[in-house]
Structures are given as structure tokens and as C-alpha cells.
């Protein structure tokens, strides 16, 4: 209880602060003077029309692509000095197939010069914490799509990041696996209280996982609305019938369609 109370108290403090963000690809202006605050320990999902720069937003915040103007601060410091966990949409092209699954997960620790024994121990702890059983001796390409993305998520978590960014992480998985992975991700979030930002093209998923749904507009991108959704966790599939879920989803859909019509 106290932990939960602490977290809600900390919610008011912005953890990720974006100010005056500017980015264009060629002549195409994506972001211009974009501001955003993301509170500590919240799960934010990003939703919006196709090509509005959902993925671009987390790519900019994580330093994957450089921006033209503005500042991004994570935990009060420049984003470049923050530890970032990032899960790519395409696990096949982001995992290292020449390494075993275990070595993939350990890689962020290896980069930081953590001794081998300690690397192994931290992976063990991580697996135990989320009740994940995986044959980590296998090559990544021998695992199923869901297992590969699970490896990618563990790799993103192993270095105890300040924030976790996920770019449509489940869009390449079948529905059954998607449901399982959502629950795993929810468990991770509840256990760690990690500030999480997930880009989704699936409104149901966006609402299901979120504390706050960040609805973006068409280009040049602005925030249409930040929709709060504070249904208690752990949420299960049954909540899709919950009136609050339905209302939130409908509100988001309404705003989305308005935005499409503009």
C-alpha cells in the first residue's frame, strides 16, 4: 500500500520533459515547438493517425534519431546521459542472431563492463522476477516470435533503465501471443514502476495498458489530449467490458475520428 501511495504522490513530478522539440524530414515538418511532460512511474501509450510521428517521438526522446531543435530531459538530466531501454517493433532485425538468447540479454551489461558472473546473476534475477521460462541457450532465430520479443524486452530491462520505450512491440505477433505479452509487460510495469512509453496502432491495446493515453494529431504533430485511465491493475481481458474502459476507448475514438476529419 505504501509503495502504491508513494508512486501516486510521485506522479505529479514530470520525469520526461520535452520542450520546443523540432524535427523535419526533408521538407516534411513533423514536430514544431512540441512540448510534453511524462510523470515518473506512469505507463503512457502513444496513439494517433498513421504517419503522425508516433514512433518518431520515442526515437527522438531516446536519441535514436537527432532532432533539429528543443531539449529532452529524462530525470532532470539531458537524455543522452540517461539509461534507456528500447524495444523495437522488428525483433528479428534488432536482436543479434550471432549471439545466443542469453548473450543478447546480457549485452547491455557487457557494454557497461559488468563482470560475467554478475551478468549471469542479474539475468537469473530478472527471469525469476517475471516468472519467465525460456531456453536461453538457444539461438534467437530458433525461438518463436513472441519469445524473441520477450528476449528483446528482457534485454531492454537488464541494465535497469530510467525509462522503457516500446515501439509497437506486439504488432508482429499473433493475437494469443499479444495477449500474453501484454500481461507480461503489465507485470513488469507493476513490479518495477518503470516509467514506460509504448507506441501502439491498436486503440484497445493503448487503453488496456495505459495510465495515460497520449493522443497525437496529424502533422505537424501536437498533443490532442492526454486521456487518463486509472482502472486498477492487474487488468485482465475482462476489463474490455468494464464501463470505464468502454467510455475511455469511445472518447479516444471520438477524438481520433475528429482529428482524421480535419
Amino acid at each position: 500500500m505504501t509503495a502504491l501511495a508513494d508512486r501516486s504522490a510521485a506522479t505529479d513530478v514530470p520525469f520526461i520533459t520535452v520542450r520546443g522539440l523540432g524535427k523535419s524530414f526533408g521538407k516534411q515538418l513533423i514536430y514544431d515547438g512540441f512540448d510534453l511532460d511524462i510523470p515518473r512511474g506512469t505507463f503512457t501509450t502513444v496513439f494517433g493517425p498513421n504517419g503522425c510521428g508516433k514512433s518518431t517521438l520515442i526515437n527522438l526522446m531516446s536519441g535514436l534519431i537527432p532532432f533539429d531543435a528543443g531539449t529532452v530531459e529524462i530525470g532532470g538530466k539531458d537524455f543522452r546521459s540517461a539509461t534507456i531501454g528500447y524495444v523495437f517493433q522488428n525483433y528479428r532485425d534488432s536482436l543479434f542472431p550471432w549471439l545466443r538468447a542469453l548473450e543478447n540479454i546480457e549485452y547491455p551489461l557487457k557494454v557497461r563492463g559488468v563482470p560475467r558472473a554478475a551478468q549471469r546473476e542479474r539475468v537469473e534475477r530478472l527471469l525469476a522476477a517475471f516468472e519467465i521460462t525460456l531456453d536461453l541457450k538457444r539461438r534467437t532465430y530458433e525461438l518463436s516470435g513472441g519469445q524473441q520479443q520477450l528476449v528483446a524486452i528482457l534485454r531492454a530491462l537488464i541494465a535497469e533503465p530510467d525509462v522503457l520505450f516500446l515501439d509497437e512491440p506486439f504488432s508482429a505477433l499473433d493475437y494469443e501471443m499479444t495477449l500474453y505479452m501484454r500481461d507480461k509487460l503489465q507485470t513488469v510495469f507493476m513490479e518495477t514502476g518503470l516509467t514506460t512509453v509504448l507506441v501502439s496502432h491498436d486503440l484497445e491495446e493503448a487503453v488496456y495498458l495505459a495510465d495515460r493515453i497520449l493522443l497525437l494529431s496529424k502533422r505537424p504533430t501536437r498533443v490532442v489530449e492526454v486521456i487518463p485511465f486509472d482502472l486498477a491493475r492487474p487488468r485482465t481481458v475482462e476489463i474490455v467490458g468494464d464501463p470505464q474502459f468502454v467510455a475511455t476507448k469511445q472518447h479516444a475514438l471520438h477524438l481520433f475520428r475528429e482529428e482524421m476529419r480535419r
Binding site: 536519441g63 535514436l64 528500447y86 523495437f88 532485425d93 543479434f96 550471432w98 557494454v111 539461438r139
Partner: protein, 271 residues
């Protein structure tokens, strides 16, 4: 004969007999070579070609085994093979690092792109006279030309492999906090390996071709190339055919070796 007999039986039974996998895996690959030898034998028996120009397969192979076991053929084969491997080593040791350096610096690569494309398109054998001018007709000369041939394909393929490394994995390493050096060592190197292997495989074939040609035309007294041309000139035709076959077997073995190494080393390609 056994193929002709077993086929109707299988058809009668209406199901695939267990002998078929054996036929498919052992007999089918042998069909081509056996047909080849049969045609060769038929030409000899029909006296289409004068016997002095084309010995029978049996005469050729028995000469080959005899020359390998009791004559100097094994020594010649060994000399050729060691020249090929030496040339390959030189080309690879110089070519891979240079290719990786070129490939990781786009501007540098653009500035040498024409040279690389030019030299890898120039037949190395065309440079034989040039090399003779510089190195004389020494033993090292043959290795140097072949080494140059290997070098030019290896440089290109290594550079190409590095340049076309998948950006997503490089980005993944970057966001995990890897330094430039770590990205290079842990990601770019592995990303470029499949293409580098293509270069090495082409390189070893090039080396064999160039070494055999060089042995023919740069005064040498050893090696299969020398043996082949001498067989032709003094009309020891059986020796010529046998030497050609041995040269072919060396090429085939090297190719196989590289295919196995490729599968083992780059286990992830195709996934």
C-alpha cells in the same frame, strides 16, 4: 540397371518404397558423373577422336593414381595448393581490414570506389606480364599475382558488407549505450561477415585460376599448371588429362571446405 528395375516395382506398389531416399541421396548425384564417363568411353570406343588426343577414362584414372602414388603428381599438386593458400592468405589478411576501413567511412569508400571496381573487374591474368617486369619470373611472382586477385575481391566484399550492415542492429547497440568501437566490434563486424565470406569464397577460386595460369606461363618447373602445359607440348596427353582432373578436384575440395565453413561460421544467415 537397378534403377530401371526398381522403378516399375515402386509404381506397382503404389506407395513410395523406402529405397527411394537412398536412390535420391546417393544414386541421383552419381548419375551425371557416370553418364559423363560413359560418353567419354563411348567416344574412345567409336574412334571419333584419335586415341593420342583422348585416352580412355580407365587409362586416365589409372595414370592419375599411379602418378599420385609413385610419381611426382602429388608434389605438383602440393606446390599448386600451397601457392593458392599463400596467395589467399595474403589477399585476405590485407583485404579484410582495408575493406572494413573503407566500408565504415562512406566518403573514403566513394573516393576509392572506382579503383576497387576497376581492379576487381580486371582479369588478374592480364597483369601477369606486368608482374613479370617487377618481380621477374620468381616463385613469389605467381603468389603475388594471385594474391592481388584475391585482394581485389575481398576488399570489395568486406567494404560492401560493412556498408550494408543493417542499421536497426547498429541503432539497437547505440541505444544500449555501446561505444563506437563496441558497435564496430560487436555488430558491424558480424553484420559484414556473410558478405566477407562471399569475398573469400570468390577469392579462393580466383587464386586457383590465377596460380594455374601463372604456372603455365611464368617459367616454372613445378605445379599442376606447368604439368598440364608440358603434357600438351610433349604429347604426354594422359598426364595432361590426369593433371586437369587433379586441379579440378582441388578446386572442388576448396569450394566444399568454404561452403561448410560458411554454414558453421555464419549459422544465422537465412534466418
Amino acid at each position: 540397371m537397378s534403377i530401371a528395375q526398381s522403378a516399375p516395382v515402386a509404381r506397382d506398389a503404389g506407395v513410395r518404397r523406402p529405397v527411394w531416399p537412398l536412390v535420391r541421396s546417393v544414386l541421383l548425384p552419381l548419375a551425371g558423373p557416370i553418364a559423363f564417363l560413359a560418353v567419354w568411353q563411348a567416344i574412345c570406343m567409336a574412334h571419333v577422336v584419335r586415341p593420342v588426343l583422348l585416352p580412355t577414362p580407365f587409362a586416365t584414372f589409372s595414370f592419375m593414381f599411379d602418378a599420385l602414388l609413385h610419381g611426382t603428381m602429388l608434389e605438383d599438386a602440393f606446390v599448386t595448393l600451397s601457392r593458392v593458400l599463400f596467395a589467399f592468405a595474403i589477399g585476405a589478411v590485407l583485404g579484410i581490414p582495408l575493406g572494413v576501413i573503407f566500408g565504415s567511412n562512406e566518403r573514403l569508400y566513394r573516393s576509392v570506389e572506382f579503383l576497387i571496381d576497376f581492379f576487381r573487374s580486371t582479369p588478374a591474368s592480364a597483369l601477369i606480364p606486368l608482374f613479370i617486369l617487377f618481380f621477374g619470373i620468381s616463385d613469389f611472382n605467381k603468389v603475388a599475382i594471385a594474391g592481388f586477385g584475391v585482394f581485389s575481391v575481398v576488399v570489395f566484399n568486406s567494404a560492401y558488407g560493412v556498408m550494408n550492415a543493417r542499421k536497426s542492429r547498429i541503432l539497437a547497440a547505440k541505444v544500449m549505450g555501446a561505444s563506437q568501437l563496441q558497435i564496430f566490434r560487436d555488430v558491424m563486424f558480424f553484420e559484414s561477415l556473410p558478405q566477407t565470406m562471399v569475398g573469400l569464397r570468390t577469392g579462393i577460386s580466383t587464386a586457383l585460376v590465377v596460380v594455374v595460369v601463372a604456372e603455365m606461363f611464368i617459367g616454372s618447373d613445378q605445379g599442376l599448371g606447368h604439368r598440364i602445359i608440358e603434357g600438351e607440348q610433349v604429347l604426354q596427353i594422359t598426364d595432361m588429362y590426369a593433371s586437369i582432373i587433379v586441379a579440378g578436384l582441388i578446386g572442388y575440395a576448396l569450394n566444399m571446405l568454404f561452403m561448410i565453413a560458411d554454414k558453421r561460421l555464419i549459422h544465422w544467415s537465412g534466418h
